[in-house]
Assembly symmetry: C2
Homo-oligomer: 284 residues x 2
């Protein structure tokens, strides 16, 4: 009888599950591992769902589109770590959508609730990580590590190609459907600047002013800013060009790397990358 | 002798040239004819050159790129009336460029000075003109006048087409190289909303929320705003799509019309449209 009771207690103790890992705890681990002080003013916050939800799996992604949420949920991953916004603005403000009873927003919110999802944004601090988590992923995907500058990791000296060739190489290696280019297709270039995402025209211009940048590759920018600037430079006969990769594909490989990085300190649940689709197709 | 003197005075009087028309006077005529009160807060101001320069000819254009300035000057047109910015930002602020001794800006400024050009922006009030001068030109180019709404001139009911077909028609009629589309290519649509330029996501969303808009055609917008919104709507199975015409070609026909409108009250000098080139080409 004593033996039986002892055995019963041992079995109970073994079977008792570890306390579930919550979304909040995952984020606390990220904050502890990212290697830079956490900013008070940041967009890296919870965007939807209850932070105390037990996590069944983690999906990293470039942009938490509805399509991404559906595929993550189907894989049993209920914590979505997204680089870009979920609710259609940099600040993910939803007050206007609520007031308007916007049906696209409502269906997305409903899907998140019904599938017990939690969405958290990882933008500022993944860029602030040293090396920049996004840039590192993009350089890996481009196979340009050996061409990367040591002083400025955004600058590359590649084997000489025409602008047409370098744009084609980036398109192929990053797997992009639509890459738009400004400049002379036959311009011979070796010096490439890389500014994934939407870094803004001031930052773009600072790179384009350098002799060490003949062609700048970015995600996106308004037409009347960097695009007009480079069109003018090209019309003036300057040795400058611009490659527009599109925002999503220009940064996406950095969120593949993010999943690998997370696996280093989150081992209780599956962690994987869910690709965000390039949103466009070309009219004929 | 008396006859001779009289004849001399008559000849002198006939030969005396009319006082030259200045850029400032042309703009005063525009302000008098545009049919809406002139706003105190507007981007419709002189951007470069001396407003008191005598005008030799007027070029209307979509965006006063370096290439446009060169072609206008070659045609002897020294007053450039541009819908979009000259100096790479909505406010055309040049202080940063001066400070940085930016070579692209310097060469553009130098060209303007050396060729005695004056650049003036005509954005807000050409849109405020009734009917909207830009929209009217685009509708004419699309040959969609008979499909235009009477209550809201931005709404159209066109003969039923697939999304692929309506995008192809807009591309062909507006003469655009690169038109990007979000949504199901086989979606059958009749209800099209037209918002040329960069109207902003709040305005786009207000149109997309209407049952009277199945597909919205715009110039451009950041990917994480209207583009993600429509990608989500499409993923949710909603009958919605987005066509991105590019900023320049989406509004350019409105500046063709602007030249015709100006000819109604500026007769002293040649007036003509100078096309702004679509800045992009596609990587293979």
């Amino acid at each position: 009888m004593t033996k039986c009771i002892a055995a019963f207690f041992i079995v109970c103790s073994l079977a008792k599950p570890a306390p579930p890992l919550t979304a909040r705890q995952v984020i606390e681990r990220i904050q502890a591992h990212v290697g830079v002080p956490w900013r008070a003013d940041t967009v890296d916050t919870f965007k939807a769902g209850d932070p105390d939800t037990p996590v069944t799996g983690i999906a990293t992604t470039m942009m938490a589109t509805y399509d991404v949420l559906v595929r993550a949920a189907a894989e049993g991953k209920n914590l979505i770590i997204t680089h870009e916004p979920t609710f259609y603005s940099h600040q993910d403000q939803t007050a206007a959508f609520e007031k308007e009873h916007d049906s696209v927003w409502e269906q997305k919110e409903r899907f998140i609730k019904e599938h017990n999802l939690v969405v958290w944004r990882f933008h500022d601090h993944w860029h602030m990580h040293r090396p920049d988590g996004i840039l590192t992923g993009v350089v890996r995907a481009l196979q340009w590590q050996k061409f990367q500058g040591t002083n400025d990791p955004r600058l590359f000296v590649v084997p000489e190609m025409t602008l047409e060739q370098v744009a084609a190489q980036m398109k192929q290696r990053l797997g992009i459907e639509i890459v738009r280019v400004v400049g002379d297709p036959q311009l011979k270039v070796t010096k490439v600047g890389l500014s994934p995402g939407a870094g803004g025209s001031q930052s773009h211009r600072a790179m384009l002013q350098k002799d060490s940048v003949e062609v700048l590759a970015i995600g996106e920018v308004p037409e009347w800013e960097t695009i007009e600037y480079v069109a003018d430079a090209a019309a003036q006969g300057k040795h400058k060009a611009l490659i527009l990769l599109g925002h999503i594909p220009s940064e996406q490989p950095g969120m593949v790397d993010c999943a690998e990085w997370l696996k280093g300190f989150v081992t209780e649940v599956p962690v994987g990358f869910v690709a965000t689709k390039e949103p466009f197709w070309l009219a004929r």
